[in-house]
């Protein structure tokens, strides 16, 4: 069991000419919660899409549970994905279905379980996120935090081995944020799963994760346990942890000379 569940080796990725990931190597050990952090647009979400097989790397290897994701055919990829769960940034609930039907969706699609059993399973999943009472509501009637918890219940419906979270904390009030954070940790341990969180919420992550990777300019800029990260003297990590406006991550988007732009008219 010492082999990590997910392993990325020298992964490169580009959208057309624009390089997103230059050389990423990281691993997600079994049973752990790992955070991947970095500024906006640094390719964090792309990492999840590579692990889930929705994008293919230009170079390097992505393996999940020993399988090379890029080398899988459609059927094999779908088989693998049944054991993965991904929580999208705003939940991505199916707006034409009730909360109950949303959570039941993967069970109905992938199993032949009788209706009563599906009912019990859905209620258990909803209970785990504290929303059993909301089963009959439609997604439009939920708050942002509730929608994300329902999506989380749907994500764990098939008891996946790997849970992926795309910016799970964005746009939540402090209470919902704490609830989601605790749920991520508790569900990971209760399911015996492994989790990857892509986020830029450093304070929440430091409390719940086992290991943190920092991504900058397409490379792993720093890594370590929360303890090590807190005490890090690395200027990049320091800027991030203390939320400083300027530092190794510049305030200004790369641009030409300011004076020239002003005098010359068109930038």
């Amino acid at each position: 069991m010492s082999e990590p569940l997910v392993r990325l080796e020298n992964v490169r990725f580009a959208y057309g000419e624009r390089a997103i990931l230059r050389d990423i190597s990281l691993s997600i050990p079994r049973g752990k919660v790992v955070a991947i952090m970095g500024g906006s647009g640094c390719g964090k979400t792309t990492l999840l899409r590579l692990i889930g097989g929705q994008e293919r790397a230009v170079g390097g290897r992505v393996t999940v549970d020993g399988q090379d994701v890029a080398g899988l055919g459609r059927e094999a990829l779908y088989t693998l994905r049944r054991r993965m769960g991904m929580l999208f940034q705003f939940g991505a609930l199916f707006t034409d279905m009730s909360v109950f039907d949303n959570v039941a969706f993967p069970l109905r699609e992938h199993t032949d379980l009788p209706a009563e059993l599906i009912n019990d399973l859905v209620m258990m999943k909803l209970h785990a996120v504290g929303l059993r009472g909301a089963a009959r509501l439609m997604p439009g009637e939920l708050s942002g935090g509730m929608a994300r918890r329902v999506a989380l219940a749907r994500t764990i419906a098939l008891d996946p081995m790997l849970l992926m979270y795309d910016e799970p904390f964005t746009g939540l009030n402090p209470i919902s944020l704490g609830v989601i954070g605790q749920l991520i940790r508790r569900l990971n341990d209760a399911l015996g799963a492994s989790s990857v969180i892509v986020t830029h919420d450093i304070q929440e992550s430091l409390q719940i994760v086992d290991y943190i990777y920092f991504i900058s300019e397409g490379r792993v800029a720093a890594e370590g346990t929360p303890e090590a990260i807190r005490n890090s003297t690395d200027p990049f990590v320091h800027q991030f942890v203390h939320a400083e406006a300027d530092g190794p991550v510049p305030f200004h988007y790369p641009a030409g000379d300011y004076a020239t732009a002003l005098v010359g008219g068109a930038g």
Binding site: F88, Q89, F90, A92, F94, T95, P106, E109
Partner: protein
């Protein structure tokens, strides 16, 4: 001058690319259509949204088109003393042309735009990606049932449109103006051939159904996932469907009705 040619060239190439994408998409829909029929409730739901929900506009429009045909037809025919042929004129215009074409245009703007908007918004809110990550193919689960719902409802709606139109023509011609009731129906039954007129009209409406449904699901699935992108996709659905219907109608008419 060279620029103009370059632009025209790139537009042509883009158009051909787009056609290729649609053809590949069409093929994928056919490949993933199994579920649309094994789990028939998926398709029935779309049949309800595309077909049943379009009924009102189709029936009312059909009635009005029939009323107008009755008035105009009578006005022209009575000049030649042929007002008894009003039934023939109304029925042939509707069954051959107006039924499939006008119903198709209405169907594209009522149901096609709704399908594009729904699929586009599902793309914007990452519902399609989420489904794909749950190992459920969005083409099988979302696109194919909507496609078949449109394909099945279109000929039915066109038939109802024609029936309402004939009723409207009868209402004006016989009830209001006073054309002979027996002559109206007898002339119609005599002149309208099932194979040549009705069946060809049904074939037309089936082809329009495939065209509108395919354009609607493709534009939704292919849209740029932003608010602006969805609104553009809806516009494109209505415009391309209308052009496709009118162009296909000309082509089919020239093959079907050459006298």
């Amino acid at each position: 001058m060279a620029d103009v040619f370059r632009k025209m060239g790139s537009m042509a190439i883009n158009g051909i690319w787009q056609l290729g994408f649609i053809a590949r998409f069409f093929w994928l829909i056919l490949v993933y259509s199994g579920q649309s029929f094994t789990r028939i409730h998926l398709t029935l739901r779309e049949l309800y949204f595309s077909g049943v929900m379009s009924l009102l506009i189709i029936l009312v429009s059909g009635l009005f088109v029939g009323l107008v045909l009755g008035l105009q037809g009578y006005e022209t025919l009575q000049r030649y003393g042929a007002s008894d042929s009003l039934g023939t004129l109304v029925a042939l215009s509707l069954v051959r042309e107006l039924g499939p074409v006008v119903a198709g245009l209405l169907f594209a703007s009522r149901a096609g735009s709704a399908v594009t908007a729904e699929i586009g918004l599902m793309k914007v809110t990452e519902q399609l990606k989420a489904m794909d990550m749950m190992a459920v193919s969005p083409i099988a689960r979302v696109v194919a049932p909507r496609f078949w719902g449109g394909v099945i409802s279109m000929p039915l709606l066109a038939a109802l449109f024609s029936a309402m139109g004939v009723f409207g023509g009868w209402l004006i011609g016989v009830v209001v103006i006073g054309v002979d009731d027996g002559a109206f129906w007898a002339q119609m039954q005599d002149a309208v051939d099932f194979r040549y007129d009705v069946l060809n009209g049904v074939i037309k409406s089936c082809v329009f159904g495939v065209a509108v449904a395919l354009i609607a699901v493709f534009e939704g699935y292919d849209c740029v996932p932003t608010a602006e992108g969805v609104s553009r996709a809806i516009t494109r659905t209505v415009v391309s469907s209308a052009l496709a219907i009118l162009a296909l109608d000309f082509v089919m008419t020239s093959f079907m009705f050459r006298g």
